[in-house]
């Protein structure tokens, strides 16, 4: 069948390298590995590092289940090519705890029982950690009143819902997720 894709013409393929070697600092450990250029950070974490906390939900940036922290910022690892991240620091849900003590966001999720099936939870938790940093750094959101003074943003339930809207939960655990994040803020 003819492909209807752009650029699917019949020019001779130039010889290009389809792999590169990158160094990643994943949950505090330095690793150098060769990646297929097509591999996303999500696939690399799951298949090469055995870190299956970050989930492949939609694989298109729409659900947030793959959220991890890259250089401290939350990001959808399903749309991030591993080859672009040479030298980056990646923190997954597996790397949030400090030894035996859970990260405050993890602890709050446990205490509030902020999940049902748990599929979205690692993404929710990483997203919440990144989101709390953004608010502390004074980043406004869509629901922050335009005339708000600069400086850390106070997060009410509306702010939390808006800032967490990139993380879907099929089980509808949203009310508890918001409460868990409110607990962390207090």
């Amino acid at each position: 069948m003819d492909s209807l894709a752009l650029g699917a013409d019949l020019e001779p393929e130039p010889v290009v390298d389809e792999h590169s070697t990158v160094t990643l600092f994943v949950n505090g450990e330095e690793t150098t590995l060769t990646v297929d250029h097509r591999a996303t950070v999500l696939e690399t974490l799951r298949e090469r590092f055995g870190l299956t906390g970050a989930k492949k939900g939609c694989d298109h940036g729409q659900c947030g289940a793959c959220t991890v922290l890259v250089d401290g910022r939350r990001i959808n690892s399903c749309l991030l090519l591993a080859v672009t991240q040479d030298g980056a620091t990646v923190t997954t849900v597996e790397g949030l705890a400090d030894g035996e003590s859970l990260h405050p966001v993890q602890q709050a999720f446990v205490e509030r029982d902020a999940l049902q099936c748990g599929f979205c939870t690692p993404g929710q938790i990483c997203s919440a950690v990144g989101m709390l940093r953004e608010a502390a750094d004074g980043h406004p959101s869509h629901v922050t009143p335009p005339d708000t003074e600069t400086g850390p943003v106070a997060l009410d339930a509306d702010e939390i819902r808006e800032r967490m809207s990139g993380n879907l939960c099929r089980c509808g655990a949203y009310p508890r997720i918001v409460e868990a994040i409110e607990d962390v803020i207090e």
């Binding site: 020019e11 389809e18 097509r38 991030l80």
Partner: protein
């Protein structure tokens, strides 16, 4: 996904040179649209030229008091930049109304301007689509087009440009700076995106191998207020059905300065020049606003399922102009 090469140039010159070197080379910003389309098989680059690490990541004041925004500045950093929140609030609001926190952390200014339509047929390689494969047809005309254009479309394509940021930039009279194999040039943002006409495969006037380096804003209009509002199917994390960006200055009850742009209604951010002309020196009253908006939207040619957008655009703009007027009057007395 087809295998591809990868290069990370250190300078804009090297990026342009690498892109010109072979067919199938594409620039990569945050990848939130390009990688998505590669997974869908819509884009099949042979080599990605990663420009996300180029030294184009700064927001700086220009000599005349305007603002220069580097092409690799991330959407989240731009939205929270103090010069933007203070002097160009509509731009910050537009960015924050788009995508999600995670996506905005990755998305770049250049990539946002060149993101492709969300028309479902464009994204589905098993379907015909004139934008993806010129001459194959436009199933959206008779198919699912509730989200698509009401203004400026052609029988070849009724897609909309999905960017929120670009709508604010259109109302703010931004300019796009480009560098390519033939040198540098500047294009007003309102002329950067095209109407589909007979070649909807071209979203913009960018030439092959051209790199966006900067977006430049003129100095903010003294005393004017600006606002971006977006109507969508859910409260957050959804593309616009219709959006409005406006700047307005009112003095002694009359409009001294007004710019207005609509999103979600056309193949490009729709700068409402007709309404602006009607608004100039008009009384700042709902009746005058209504009159100007009706004049602008008289041109609308809705499709079977999207006539609601004409009314939505009018009401949303009326609200925004009313809000901006009230804010100005509260301030001046």
């Amino acid at each position: 996904m087809k295998p591809f090469g990868y290069a990370r140039p250190a300078s804009t010159d090297e990026a342009v040179r690498l892109c010109a070197a072979g067919p199938g080379a594409r620039f990569l910003g945050g990848g939130t649209n390009l990688v998505d389309l590669m997974k869908l098989g819509v884009e099949t680059p042979r080599i990605l030229i990663d420009v996300s690490g180029l030294p184009l990541d700064r927001v700086t004041r220009t000599a005349d008091g305007g603002l220069s925004i580097g092409a690799t500045v991330r959407n989240s950093d731009l939205a929270s930049h103090p010069d933007v929140t203070e002097d160009y609030p509509a731009l910050s609001q537009a960015l924050l109304a788009g995508a999600s926190g995670q996506l905005r952390n990755a998305a770049t200014t250049g990539g946002n301007l060149l993101q492709r339509t969300r028309c479902r047929y464009f994204q589905d390689v098993s379907k015909p689509c004139n934008k993806r494969l010129p001459g194959s047809g436009c199933p959206a005309l008779e198919g699912t087009h509730r989200d698509l254009a009401i203004l400026g479309h052609s029988p070849e394509c009724v897609a909309t440009n999905p960017s929120d940021m670009a709508v604010a930039l259109a109302a703010l009279d931004a300019t796009v700076l480009l560098v390519g194999p033939e040198g540098e040039r500047a294009v007003p943002l309102t002329e950067f995106h095209r109407l589909p006409g007979e070649n909807p495969d071209q979203d913009t006037v960018i030439r092959p191998g051209e790199l966006i380096t900067e977006v430049v804003l003129p100095p903010p209009v003294p005393g004017a207020a600006s606002r971006y509002r977006k109507a969508r199917d859910r409260a957050s994390f959804a593309f616009a059905l219709v959006s409005v960006a406006a700047t307005l200055r009112v003095a002694a009850g009359r409009v001294e300065h007004a710019t207005l742009a609509f999103g979600g209604v056309a193949h490009r951010p729709w700068r409402a020049r007709r309404a602006e002309a009607e608004l100039r020196d008009a009384p700042a009253t709902p009746a005058a606003f209504q009159h100007a908006l009706i004049a602008e939207l008289a041109e609308a040619r809705p499709l079977r399922d999207n006539a609601f957008k004409v009314d939505l655009a009018r009401r949303l703009a009326l609200d925004v102009l009313g809000e901006l007027t009230e804010r100005q009057q509260a301030r001046t007395g």
